[in-house]
């Protein structure tokens, strides 16, 4: 089954480069990321800490601030070039057509404000709504995301909400103005495992409700499997593999993806066995590697990997499955010879 992004792309990122000037030198956080999100599509961006996935999201939101800087690339959203927008135009987009849910619901809500008022304010920032009407709508939104006695709880302060409820409130705020694109940056990482599933359900319902596309940033492949249409895997600020959900899970064509999938604990693991990991640690991003950034950690690395930067190329059976590995075509064979 192939799933190509629906023809009119909603979001197009082309050759994005972001760097951070620090005292120790320049950190190259994102190094030429290109991705497309179609209408109503859910694209997952997967990678470990420091792979540049959150910075990519912030770049789209126009929220990369000093010492960070977008040095190159184009971002277009619904046909508008976001990098040429004025501050004011960007503000109109944020929280309107372009909404974001942050990782930590505990700190994403203003502790000095009633939850309902915060949502009402988000509504009023984008439309000419009376205070009373905005409050009413806020209560409706809270009910929509499954907060019981929503109109009463809307008058609560964030500290009176549990973690899961706060993230529900954040989702309510994000969809308050019916966004076209919902960026969710690790929406469940800070939550209890039992709450995660509920919040993901709410997130999906919210997306359906608003017909929004979603850019889901996560390091949790379980979430990816449940929510995404397509997946982009990032490593060291680059995209290393891009595929539909099924292709990625059943026919991974990059050693890093294989490592990620292999490191998932399985029910048939023997007790007491250590969890599988990818050997080594991700590279510091102070200088760009000459060859493939994964080469030092890769079991399949050859000399070419260390001297030349692999580009994303079509790999495997599907035309929309791309991998940045010189040995992408050989990988299935190599894996069966050598258990990961």
């Amino acid at each position: 089954m192939t799933h190509t992004p629906p023809a009119p792309a909603l979001l197009e990122v082309e050759g994005l480069e972001v760097e951070f000037k620090t005292e120790d030198g320049i950190v190259h956080a994102v190094n030429g990321v290109s991705l497309v999100v179609g209408m109503r599509e859910t694209l997952a961006v997967v990678g470990e800490s420091g792979s540049g996935k959150s910075v990519t999201a912030l770049s789209i939101m126009g929220l990369v601030t000093k010492p960070g800087r977008i040095t190159n690339g184009a971002v277009s959203f619904a046909g508008r070039d976001l990098r040429t927008l004025t501050d004011k135009e960007y503000r109109g987009l944020r929280g309107g057509d372009l909404a974001m849910i942050f990782q930590d619901p505990l700190s994403s809500l203003n502790p000095a404000f009633r939850v309902g008022d915060q949502i009402a304010e988000a509504i009023r920032a984008h439309s000419d709504t009376s205070k009373a009407a905005a409050r009413e709508r806020a209560a409706e939104l809270l009910a929509l995301v499954g907060i019981p006695q929503a109109s009463t709880r809307a008058r609560d302060y964030p500290h009176q909400f549990s973690g899961g409820m706060r993230q529900r409130a954040m989702i309510a705020m994000a969809i308050a103005n019916v966004p076209k694109l919902l960026i969710a940056d690790e929406p469940t990482t800070a939550l209890d495992v039992t709450i995660q599933a509920q919040v993901l359900e709410v997130l999906q319902a919210a997306q359906r409700e608003t017909d929004a596309a979603m850019l889901l940033i996560t390091h949790d492949l379980g979430i990816v499997a449940g929510l995404a249409d397509r997946v982009v895997v990032m490593y060291a600020g680059r995209i290393v593999e891009e595929a539909t959900l099924d292709d990625l899970f059943y026919d991974p064509r990059h050693p890093y993806t294989i490592g990620l999938l292999g490191s998932l604990p399985r029910l048939d693991d023997k007790r007491g066995e250590p969890l599988r990991t990818i050997p080594g640690s991700p590279p510091g991003l102070y200088s760009l590697s000459v060859g493939c950034a994964l080469a030092p950690r890769c079991a399949f690395a050859i000399d070419r990997c260390r001297s030349e930067q692999p580009e994303l190329r079509v790999a495997g059976a599907a035309a929309d499955h791309r991998s940045a590995c010189f040995r992408a075509e050989e990988l299935p064979g190599l894996r069966s010879e050598q258990p990961a």
């Binding site: 929220l63 944020r94 203003n110």
Partner: protein
Amino acid sequence: MSQDLAPLAEVGASGAPVRSYLRLVARRFRGHKVAVAALVVLVLLAGLAVFVNVMSPYEANPIPLTPEILGEAREQPTWDHIFGTDKLGRDMFTRSLVGLQKSLQIGFGVAIVSVLIGVVIGSLAGYYRGWIDALLMRFTDLILVLPALAVLIILASTPEPSFFGLFDFPPATTVTGMVIVISVLGWMPMARIVRGEFLSLREKEFVDAARAAGASGPRIIVRHLLPNAVGPIVVFGTLEVGLAILTEATLSFLGLGIQLPKISLGNLIADAEGTVGTDLAYLVIFPGLILFLIVLCVNFIGDGLRDALDPRAVR
């Protein structure tokens, strides 16, 4: 056992009292007994000062000074004159309360003005950082390194103060003039406190979230950052009341500021100079005691507020 488990959706919703932040603060403040006592004393004293005309049968500055009044000069404290009378037979209780009135006006006036200046400068510096921060903070440092008392004396002794001839200020012999003079040298700690709070608050995720929701810089400052910095601001404002009252007393004692026959606690004390150690010491003890009491109360209240407003404190 399983009976105890409420359905998942209702957990945390079971009639949790909707408690407002202010009521929370009030409850924690009530736990601070000394501060509550200080507040009671302050309110009583302020009430006496405000309603001095009703509370006392005497006038602070009786005109003309009749032989009857003069006949009661230098009377030790009695039930008729609980603070005694001064060398012209005027009731010291009444005079002290009128002085307290001025002190309170100046104290709260200075607190309001210097908090306003400090909050504006501090929040701009803390939120925008960069060159705005550098400029505003160097300016703050500049005022901070001035020898405060010397500048106060110069400002307070200027008969017709004006800002480079552009606009005039009331002279420091009036309450308004005094408020301006003391505020000009009193806002810097507030600016630094607010800047510090903002520097840490602006990195909080809810500020990113607000920005991601389309909020502008000024909106973030006013709606998101200031409400979270209200604790330190209120506490500093309270302490500033006490500090301003003391500064006014110091200046008046030095013969600047409010001039007799207008009364302030400072010039009452100055007027009683030389009585310490004599049997007229009550002339300096009572106004001094009120000054001491009011500043002590204000500081205790500040302490109580600091604990009550601390968001990290246990609820």
